[in-house]
């Protein structure tokens, strides 16, 4: 700790940090642009000037850039000295010289860092009357809008996109005052983290394109703290609503998980809420196979008549913990199936064993960023849990911080650290069937089938104790790197649908543990609440559930499209004459088989708990009221139970949660404060900002009398602007970040204990699994058959960050961004089949043709198919089962693909 005197007042700050970081950590206001807590300092904008005094007698001082100055003990600075204030105002005036008169038609307006800083420095009148510079814009794809005129050349975009996220197609181009931040030519930004540019850019150069279509100012959005549902990482997000419609997702800071950044599936994947296929009314299937909607009471009656003691309840890993619990209560554990196929169930149980073991630590993403050697086993994390890949990328930079320290370069001195380290990176090894987007930073990669990878993992385990083998060999390198590391990490997952991979990775970690290396293991489960639903558990597997349905049992399927779980053939047969009650958001294939269908709320329209890969339970609060008859599944289930004269005993979410916590995990009550939580003893947390507009006009077309503000019985949040969002409240209840003078998302530092640190009252979420001392089995390798038949291809599931997420596939921006479903070949195999890259391939068992792609890494004898078609085919395909499709056209981005906006 060091003593820093700011305008004569002593503050305790960390020595060695930069001044700007320290000043902001004291919650003081100091304007800045180019500095970012995750990106460090480069001193490009000259905005954070302060006066530094040599000693107590020094009254004159000298001007210096706060972000480029290390804090030393006893340092004296002034933020308010007239010279510094005047300098900062002048810098803003220069930056604003060419800024267009765009604010009213700019999507950043109202949450613009440039606006905030301009107001903060006091620059209010334009003196420069000369002509303004202009630029041409680029089309950067369906996610990001580009308006280059608004640029202030802070370089944050390229520093995030290239340096932080490893993108290659965004650059600072041109020279002099012609600097241009964009692509070499028009085209979609390739990185799956491009969406963060919207939040990283301090002005309106990069904007959220889907949001811009039905744009609403930040102050008019109703938001609540929520959790992203598009993978198992459980990033914290702020979904926003206006006029009863979902509008956008922005990042909600969580130091241990997503920090300041989200992936684009998370940011743009939630537009499915407004999809035209949303089920809005309860429906009963009439004899002519057509649903009759609009009579919920009759639907409940009909559903109740189908439910008996043998009714199967099929839950879902994408439904909340409470909803799954409600269904389990209704049908009983003996009739409850968690809604994943048998293979996946086995994987989830293996993951839970890992989480329960105290030999192996499951890291948070913050801990992933501290891992100094990483071995990725089989999982393409850039596509299955993209945010993890961003953390892995940061982890490989640890050595540069180490090198910088040795060269006396402060770690926040971003340009210096990078230049000094050059291409030095921490070891990252990837063993996957095909190329991944992390290959560029990997020390070495290995390509092979699941069995090949298993082989490698077991060989690595053997190499840990055995020193004799070839230096060049992949397994040997991995073993060495893991043994020499201080905080080694192994990452695997369910992506290849093989439980053996998880066993192998566990075995490797256990072996390393025996040698005294403290190792972490991150296993990526398939979906947002996979771990939660697996912890809840059910006695019925999906296969036996389907057998029982075929035999005549009725079933309740909740928030689950079974066609995503099993092959179409199996399900068509099982559900042919079934008695199904389906509760879900969207009309999917399972709904077609339903006898009764109920409209269920999505994550943003209900409160619920999701359990992420590290078994962290996180509460997501309802953002807005769903339209028409749409209700949370637990409400529908209770109504059905009440009809059966055995009510489940809850009427509000609070009561459900109490029951749930009582019979499962008491920690669920600690995850977020209960509905009676009040700030300063009296105030709720508002979902609306204090500037929320249109209150007396927005409903006036329907009814001139303003509706009574809805009282929220379920959460400590209010559906109004009344209340307080001071930032000191429980971290799980922060509905948006705003602070006087800080309208943009940069205001988040006012909610942190220290810049880039924990939230003021701690970070939300609790791990449900506490290691119970269970020892992991040290299995030896099973005999693996690695000999492939020359005439067959082994099928490997290939995941896509845009295209493999069930719900995000209903989101129109994701649809626009998703590549044509493709099939991956080795060059030799493609030639053997006479399939040209880009042409169509007809694969036996699939109705639609796939685009042929040749992967640089996939070995001969393997074929990669889209993960969501994997279940439709066997484990191998004969060469004769693949044909050229002459009529194939790659998915055109027609407007028809885009209209499903609702």
């Amino acid at each position: 700790m060091a003593k820093l005197f700011i305008d004569g007042v002593a503050h305790e700050v960390n020595e060695g940090e930069n001044l700007l970081h320290s000043v902001l950590s004291q919650q003081l206001d100091l304007p800045y642009f180019c500095w970012h807590p995750s990106l460090g300092s480069i001193g490009a904008c000259r905005q954070c000037a302060v006066i530094s005094y040599a000693n107590e007698e020094d009254t004159r001082g000298r001007l210096m850039m706060a972000c480029m100055t290390s804090v030393t003990d006893g340092m004296r600075i002034s933020l308010k000295a007239p010279l510094a204030e005047n300098f900062r105002t002048t810098v803003i005036e220069w930056l604003m010289e060419n800024h267009p008169h765009d604010c009213p038609v700019c999507e950043e307006g109202g949450e613009c860092h440039l606006q905030d800083m301009t107001v903060m420095t006091g620059h209010s009148f334009r003196r420069y009357q000369g002509p303004k510079r202009t630029w041409q814009n680029q089309d950067l794809g369906p996610f990001i809008g580009h308006e280059m005129n608004r640029c202030i050349t802070c370089y944050r975009c390229v520093r995030f996109y290239d340096d932080y996220a490893g993108g290659t197609d965004l650059a600072a181009l041109g020279s002099r005052d012609r600097m241009f931040f964009g692509r070499f030519e028009d085209g979609t930004l390739e990185s799956e983290f491009a969406g963060n540019l919207v939040e990283v850019c301090p002005t309106g150069v990069f904007t959220d394109k889907p949001f811009a279509q039905s744009y609403t100012r930040k102050w008019d959005l109703q938001t609540a703290p929520s959790v992203c549902t598009h993978c198992s990482v459980g990033c914290n997000v702020f979904p926003a609503e206006r006029y009863g419609e979902f509008r956008r997702i922005t990042n909600r800071y969580h130091v241990e998980i997503n920090g300041y950044f989200l992936c684009d599936r998370g940011r743009f994947g939630t537009h499915f809420v407004n999809h035209v296929k949303r089920i809005k009314h309860a429906g009963i299937k009439e004899s002519d196979n057509i649903f009759e909607f609009g009579d919920p009471d009759r639907a409940i009656e009909q559903a109740a008549s189908l439910v008996d003691d043998h009714t199967i309840g099929i839950g879902s890993p994408r439904a909340s913990f409470e909803n799954n619990f409600a269904l389990r209560e209704l049908v009983g554990k003996e009739n409850f199936c968690i809604g994943v196929n048998d293979q996946e169930l086995e994987i989830l149980n293996a993951i839970i064993k890992v989480l329960q073991s105290d030999e192996i630590h499951t890291p948070t993403l913050q801990e992933v960023e501290q891992a100094d050697a990483i071995f990725i086993v089989g999982e393409d994390i850039s596509n299955t849990a993209a945010r993890t890949a961003l953390s892995v990328r940061q982890a490989t930079r640890l050595v540069s911080l180490e090198l910088a320290k040795n060269a006396a370069i402060p770690t926040w001195q971003d340009a210096g650290v990078r230049d000094h380290a050059q291409h030095e990176r921490n070891p990252l090894f990837i063993a996957t069937p095909a190329a991944t987007r992390l290959d560029d930073i990997a020390k070495d990669t290995f390509s092979g089938s699941v069995n090949d990878i298993l082989d490698v993992v077991y060989t690595v385990s053997d190499h840990i104790t055995d020193e004799t083998t070839d230096e060049q060999q992949f397994a040997h390198q991995v073993a060495q790197a893991l043994c020499n590391a201080k905080r080694p990490l192994v990452i695997t997952g369910s992506g290849l649908a093989s439980v053996d991979l998880i066993h192998a990775a566990t075995h490797l970690c256990a072996k390393l543990n025996d040698t005294g290396v403290k190792i972490s293991l991150l296993v990526v489960p398939p979906e947002v609440n996979s771990i939660g639903v697996a912890l809840l558990g059910g006695d019925v597997s999906l296969s036996s559930a389907l057998t029982r349905i075929t035999a005549g049992s009725s079933a309740i399927v909740m928030e689950n499209d079974l066609y995503q779980r099993e092959s179409k053939a199996t399900l068509d047969k099982a559900l042919e004459s079934s008695k199904l009650v389906v509760l879900d958001h969207l009309e999917h294939s399972t709904v077609e088989h339903a006898t009764v269908v109920f409209p269920a709320t999505t994550i943003v329209e209900q409160s619920g708990t999701m359990v992420n890969y590290e078994s962290r339970a996180q509460r997501s609060f309802q953002v807005f009221e769903a339209k028409s008859e749409i209700q949370p599944a637990w409400k529908w289930l209770n109504e059905i139970a009440t009809k059966l004269a055995k009510p489940l005993g809850w009427n509000t979410y609070e009561e459900l949660l109490d029951r749930c916590a009582e019979s499962t995990y008491a920690e669920l009550l600690e995850v977020a404060p209960s509905a009676d939580y009040r700030i300063r003893g009296a105030l709720r947390v508002p979902r609306q900002t204090h500037r929320y507009s249109g209150r007396t006009a927005m409903h006036a077309d329907v009814n001139i009398h303003e509706p009574k503000t809805k009282v929220d019985p379920d959460t400590p949040l209010s559906y109004s602007m009344e209340g307080l969002n001071p930032g000191t409240q429980n971290g799980a209840t922060i509905p948006y970040t705003w602070s006087p003078g800080w309208n943009s998302n940069q205001s988040v530092f006012k909610f942190q204990q220290e810049v880039g640190g924990k939230l003021v009252s701690g970070d939300p979420g609790l791990r449900l699994i506490t290691p119970n001392g269970m020892k992991l089995p040290r299995e030896s390798k099973n005999a693996l058959s690695n000999d492939r038949n020359d005439n067959t291809l082994e099928v490997i599931p290939i995941h896509q960050v845009f295209g493999s997420g069930e719900l995000s596939n209903y989101s129109w921006p994701i649809q626009a961004r998703s590549p044509t479903p493709c099939v991956l070949f080795n060059q030799a195999d493609a030639e053997k089949l006479r399939l040209a890259v880009g042409s169509g391939a007809k694969v036996a068992g699939l109705t639609e043709s796939l685009e042929v792609k040749v992967d640089t890494r996939i070995p001969a004898g393997l074929i990669g198919v889209p993960a969501n078609l994997f279940r439709e085919m066997g484990s191998t395909l004969g060469f004769d089962q693949i044909d050229h499709d002459p009529d194939f056209v790659a998915k055109s981005k027609t407007s028809e693909n885009l209209i499903a906006k609702g």
Partner: protein
């Protein structure tokens, strides 16, 4: 006594003074052009809607009686309100919306005659608010000043703009 006589005299004198009462509505009183009455939405000199749906009037409104939604014409890139609603039964004619408007779209007029038997009729939609003229500011066109491109005004063609820079130039 004197006081009473003086009062009688004062009253008598009033018989010969100008009558202050006007026969409204046959006879209309003078309304200054800056009088703050019924709100209108005006058009650009080129006849297009002036409102760019920036939401500043709505947020400035102390009684929150303005609600609107931004949308965009795909062909010409102009922002405009998909709907624009003023609930005049809540409006207090304070004129804050007019002051907040960066495009001179929303203007208050001298028309003060807003009475209805049915309160529902006090809800004005865009079709009720939008007039054909430019109102008090005949020459101002926001899009000619703004940097954003619309149809017929490319980058560099707005007022006081240089032509777009040549990014590929390496000249010092």
């Amino acid at each position: 006594m004197f006081s009473q006589l003086r009062t009688l005299w004062t009253v008598f004198i009033h018989l010969f003074q100008r009558n202050e009462t006007v026969k409204y509505p046959e006879e209309m009183p003078y309304q200054a052009p800056r009088y703050r009455g019924r709100i209108i939405l005006t058009r650009d000199p080129d006849g297009e809607e002036r409102c760019v749906a920036c939401n500043l009037c709505a947020v400035a409104c102390p009684v929150d009686c303005i609600a609107l939604q931004k949308t965009e014409k795909e062909e010409d890139g102009r922002w405009y309100p998909e709907f624009f609603r003023i609930n005049f039964s809540r409006c207090i004619m304070c004129g804050m919306c007019e002051e907040a408007c960066p495009t001179y779209a929303i203007q208050l007029t001298p028309d003060f005659e807003l009475c209805e038997y049915d309160r529902n009729n006090m809800v004005y939609e865009k079709k009720h608010l939008l007039i054909d003229g430019t109102g008090k500011y005949p020459d101002y066109s926001f899009w000619q000043v703004a940097g954003k491109t619309i149809e017929g005004k490319e980058k560099g063609q707005a007022k006081n703009e240089l032509p777009p820079v040549d990014v590929k130039s390496l000249l010092p």
